[in-house]
Amino acid sequence: MSAEGAGRALCLDVRGLNVAYPGVAGPIEVVRDASFEVVEGQCLGIVGESGSGKSQSCLALMGLLPRQARVGGSIRFRGRELLADGAREARSLRGRELAMVFQDPISALTPHLRIGTQLGEVLRRHLGTNAAEARTRAALMLTHVGIDHPEQRLRQYPHQLSGGMRQRVMIAMACLCGPALLLADEPTTALDAAVQAQVIALLRSMRTELGMAMVLVTHDLALLSGLADRIVVMYAGRVVESASAAELFARPLHPYTAGLLACVPRWTDAPPSRFASIPGVPPGPGAVGGGCAFAPRCTRAAARCLQSRPELAPRADGRCVACHFPHA
């Protein structure tokens, strides 16, 4: 629990989350024993490689995993357990108090329905708003997220909007019912710099205005600087480091976190002959053996890393890292 959040209620408390899919050679675990929490009104950043289980964790929170997925652990949202059997309550919370902006706005919007119809349906379903009022509120929300001529946009179909506009519509849709927690899964991945900065500013101001807590999922650490209160780093389905944003940027402990920071091209650098990257590839699903999943790509790896898996443990200085030989 973070010092700055001490004494404030937890909005979200995830303990030992597991997500697995049936595979030919036994279950394939894509999220393994992940724990994290979000204090009311605060922003948690989740950063990690593609395939590290960020989206699967979010979908588990939203109850949107495919039927064949096996989910274990505990997800408490404002004190209520969302993973309990027959949690009908969970269904009514999701979409209203707990809303999500998806990584892929194309598949999240229904292609053959006008934007206005889709926004209106959210209000009708969750709040029972009538059509005329829904239209007014939808238009207002579009203005709020920086879309001009909202009345005209409400009559358009998703394919008639640019990628950036679609993502704004998604944010508007998620915020319509005034959620307590907004999950944003890579909300600015495909946007240009100017709009990315605007969308991040938009998320920041929406969070303050609506008093929402936020989980911002990204693979871009630079995006989290100045926005996240705490950051959780995931690799191969596990949390490998967890720290306040300030600590993490100033002194990354896990070699993967340090590598990620080094990969961000700096404006001040002279054009390089090569771009920096972490060698190798992230492990595929289920490909992890007994040792540290990062070992094949880690410059600090030693024999011990291949034999025993480092546990995520709090250290004397209060930092949490899962590594046998962390950076000093």
Partner: protein, 263 residues
């Protein structure tokens, strides 16, 4: 300007999206766009969301009709090509899109998806040779040969984009147009893919039009850059010069908005 004849030349391109039902025709999405890509050149195209970058890509790829203007691909009047001539010329112009999932057929295994361009453009290649080429390409973009038998839905977004890049590159096109090719990839492997694009360009002499919102990457990758604003090219020049001394106030604005680590 260019030292040799351009491999891709866009002249006075105008595109207007279909009118909304019952409404007036919409404003032009692209107005009088001129752009050149030299042999083996890496050229950047930047601009805010909605400025028309993807519209330009789609028009050049003939996925959208042009209202006016001309596109020349390796000297041929590309927008007027039909039938066999069009199919043959297509081999030289390949694309990588912004949205990796939309560009892959969910019912095709990765191996089939990568074999498709080989079948189309190298019909005499035998099946074992094709399998080998697919395996080599997959490893080159950071996947494994064993992934050939898997389907796109089993991969995360970033993994899908690597497959799309492999698919575009496997038939060794002369021109590759990349619409935000690495923006959905992991920061940790973006460098590998960018280095791969650099290698490809050097080895095969591929020319690349590189669309990106990441000005730091464009600055490091592209020799020349165009700036698009509301469907018009408003600024262009050698990238280093352009970013150091932008001519147009909009370029300045884009530069100011670029996220900086620790900022």
């Amino acid at each position: 300007m260019l030292e040799s004849d351009p491999v891709l030349e866009v002249r006075g391109l105008c595109v207007r999206h279909a009118a909304r039902e019952g409404g007036r025709p919409s404003r032009a999405a692209l107005a009088d766009v001129n752009l050149q890509l030299g042999a083996g050149e890496m050229v950047g195209l930047v601009g805010e969301s909605g400025s028309g970058k993807s519209t330009l890509v789609r028009a050049v790829a003939r996925l959208l009709p042009a209202e006016a203007g001309e596109v020349r691909v390796l000297g041929l009047n590309w927008l007027r090509l039909h039938g066999r001539a069009l199919r043959e010329q297509r081999r030289h112009l390949q694309l990588v899109f912004q949205d990796p999932l939309a560009s892959l057929n969910p019912r095709m295994s990765v191996g089939e998806a990568l074999s498709e361009p080989l079948r189309a453009f190298h019909p005499r290649m035998g099946a074992p040779e094709r399998r080998e080429a697919v395996a080599v390409m997959l490893e080159r973009v950071g996947l494994s040969a064993a992934d050939a038998s898997r389907y796109p839905r089993l991969f995360s977004g970033g993994q899908c984009q690597r497959i799309a890049i492999a698919r575009a590159m496997i038939a060794k096109p002369r021109i590759l147009i990349c619409d935000e090719p690495v923006s959905s990839l992991d920061v940790s492997i973006r460098g590998q893919i960018l280095n791969l694009l650099l290698d490809l360009q050097r080895d095969a002499g591929t020319s690349m039009l590189f669309i990106s919102h990441d000005l730091a990457v464009v600055r490091h990758l592209c020799r020349r850059t165009y700036v698009l604003l509301a469907g018009r090219i408003v600024d262009e020049g050698p990238t280093a010069e352009l970013f150091a001394r932008p001519h147009h106030p909009y370029t300045l604005e884009l530069l100011a908005a670029a996220p900086r680590l620790g900022g």
